[in-house]
């Protein structure tokens, strides 16, 4: 696998406040990396920088093979359901927005039908945004990211506030995309359990920097205890990971 991108001694954040300092790490093509860390650790800053929405404060970020098409999947709360669109409309608009201005609207693209099937929302094609459940909306956002045929999928806490079934379904979908279509996945999440058995590597953001390594090594009790500042117990069973945190009886004071 060749290198997709890397940061070299990069400072990320804002001119008045650098959130991450001296960041040096890279991601390979067809990797599945999970990015975790406590609130305020810099996950959103990392996402914004990778998307090109925030300039680097120092250092460099390189894409050795050129910047690929990135499919961005935001949290569903960022989507306003008052827009009068059906599921298929949103995908069609995304596709045609990237084309040159045109007079006649084309018929529905095969690509739209294909990604609706991949994201398991083909049955919802004619539903409007305000009728979708949380899990359905998140799968629609995944489909929207896929419609532009990305080489990289960047997902920002997609399973936040999702129920257990919807989370499992969504994560299985991501794992299948990674396995079958060789899409590079970068998943920012608080849900550590969902990374076990799926992510090949994990990056933990903590104290202004990022620690990066194989999933099993990074999701160890010692490492997580250090990052979250509380005693963490980790139990493994097959590919499942069970995490328990201790020492929170007094409002989180150790």
């Amino acid at each position: 696998m060749s290198r997709l991108f890397h940061f070299d001694q990069a400072d990320l954040g804002y001119p008045s406040h650098r959130v991450l300092r001296d960041l040096s790490f890279g991601v390979d093509e067809r990797d599945f990396i999970g990015i975790v860390g406590p609130n305020g650790a810099g996950k959103s800053t990392l996402v914004k920088t990778m998307l090109g929405l925030l300039p680097l404060c120092a250092g460099c970020m390189e894409w050795p093979g050129g910047r690929p098409t990135i499919g961005y999947v935001p949290q569903r709360e960022q989507i306003d359901p008052i827009w009068p669109m059906r599921v298929r409309d949103m995908l069609q608009f995304t596709l045609t927005a990237l084309e040159p201005p045109h007079w006649r609207r084309r018929g529905e693209d095969e690509r739209v039908a294909e990604v609706m099937q991949t994201a398991e929302i083909d049955a919802l094609a004619d539903q409007t945004l305000d009728t979708l459940s949380g899990g359905e909306m998140q799968r629609l956002l995944l489909a929207r990211a896929l419609v532009v045929e990305p080489q990289v999928l960047l997902l920002d806490e997609p399973t936040a506030a999702m129920d257990l079934f919807a989370t499992e379904r969504f994560m299985n979908l991501i794992a299948r995309l990674h396995r079958d279509q060789q899409v590079t996945i970068m998943l920012v999440t608080h849900d550590l359990q969902s990374l076990a058995g799926r992510a090949t590597t994990v990056g933990i953001l903590s104290h202004g920097t990022l620690h990066h390594g194989p999933t099993a090594e990074m999701l160890s009790a010692e490492r997580l205890s250090e990052v979250y500042g509380h005693q963490v117990e980790v139990h493994r069973q097959n590919d499942q990971l069970f995490i328990a945190m201790q020492g929170l009886e007094n409002g989180g004071q150790r």
Partner: protein, 271 residues
């Protein structure tokens, strides 16, 4: 009745007023869909006030009103679209300041004007019957440009307004599409404000799209309904104002807002 209508529209001033109402009103109603969906209705209220200030300055400086209206609209767009930087006053604060200062300063400037004009207050009271040929042609030109640009680039406007962050990641020039949207809005407001006042401009911007959005959940129906309601309100309002000797602009604005109540009832019943 038909004979009355025909006779009514044999007058040139009525035809000009109808032209501005139908083209300008229909266009503002269409742009109002984006104003509602982007949740910038307060901005839609403040812009006519700043445009009014531009017109007042034009009167004071003895310039064509249209120049003042266009410049006022564009300066308003520029000021309001660059306000609300993090750490400063929130966007709503800037919009409120623009609304209050634009409206009050316009009246003060008019009162201090060394070139008092008997018709100067018509854009405040909405006397659309004073519309001239140039103003009517300007409304047609702006509506035509807006229709063309939106027909060609519809999905770009929708996607960049719906999710600017994702649009940027895909390489869509969000700022450019926002600027174009606001430019159309600025010129549209200038076209209507100049002839028919702020009341009609804001009524058209808000009423028809509100009614359409309450009734329909798909863009094609929302757009068609909005434009038909906007243009129809201009015709119904102007005709009613002539028949019942009412002020033209406010009557057209009332007609633009009238469908909101039945639309709200329809939505409640359908739910």
């Amino acid at each position: 009745m038909m004979a009355d209508l025909r006779e009514m529209y044999t007058f040139e001033f009525m035809r000009y007023a109808l032209t501005v109402g139908v083209f300008g009103g229909g266009m503002l109603a269409f742009l109002g869909i984006f104003v509602h969906l982007r949740r910038i209705v307060f901005l839609g209220a403040a812009l006519p006030q700043i445009t009014a200030l531009g017109i007042a300055l034009a009167i004071a400086l003895h310039l064509p009103l249209l120049v003042g209206a266009v410049l006022g609209g564009l300066v308003g767009i520029l000021l309001l679209s660059t306000s609300g930087k993090p750490g400063h006053l929130p966007t709503e604060g800037w919009v409120g300041l623009a609304y209050a200062s634009g409206g009050s300063l316009a009246i003060v400037v008019l009162a201090l004007s060394p070139h008092p004009d008997a018709g100067a207050l018509r854009f405040f009271t909405g006397d659309v019957l004073g519309t001239n040929r140039a103003e009517a042609l300007f409304a047609i030109a702006v509506a035509g440009f807006t229709a063309l640009i939106f027909r060609l680039c519809w999905s770009k406007f929708v996607v960049s307004s719906f999710d600017p962050v994702m649009s940027q990641t895909l390489g869509l020039k969000v700022r450019r599409w926002n600027a174009l949207l606001f430019l159309c809005l600025g010129f549209g407001l200038a076209a209507v404000m100049n002839s028919a006042g702020s009341m009609l401009a804001f009524g058209m911007l808000i009423g028809p799209p509100a009614a359409a959005l309450m009734c329909f959940r798909a863009f094609p129906k929302v757009v068609v309904t909005t434009v038909v309601l906007g243009a129809g309100a201009a015709f119904v309002g102007l005709t009613a104002s002539f028949l019942f000797d009412l002020p033209g602009g406010p009557t057209m604005a009332t007609a633009a807002l009238a469908p909101v109540l039945p639309a709200w009832i329809y939505r409640k019943i359908r739910k």
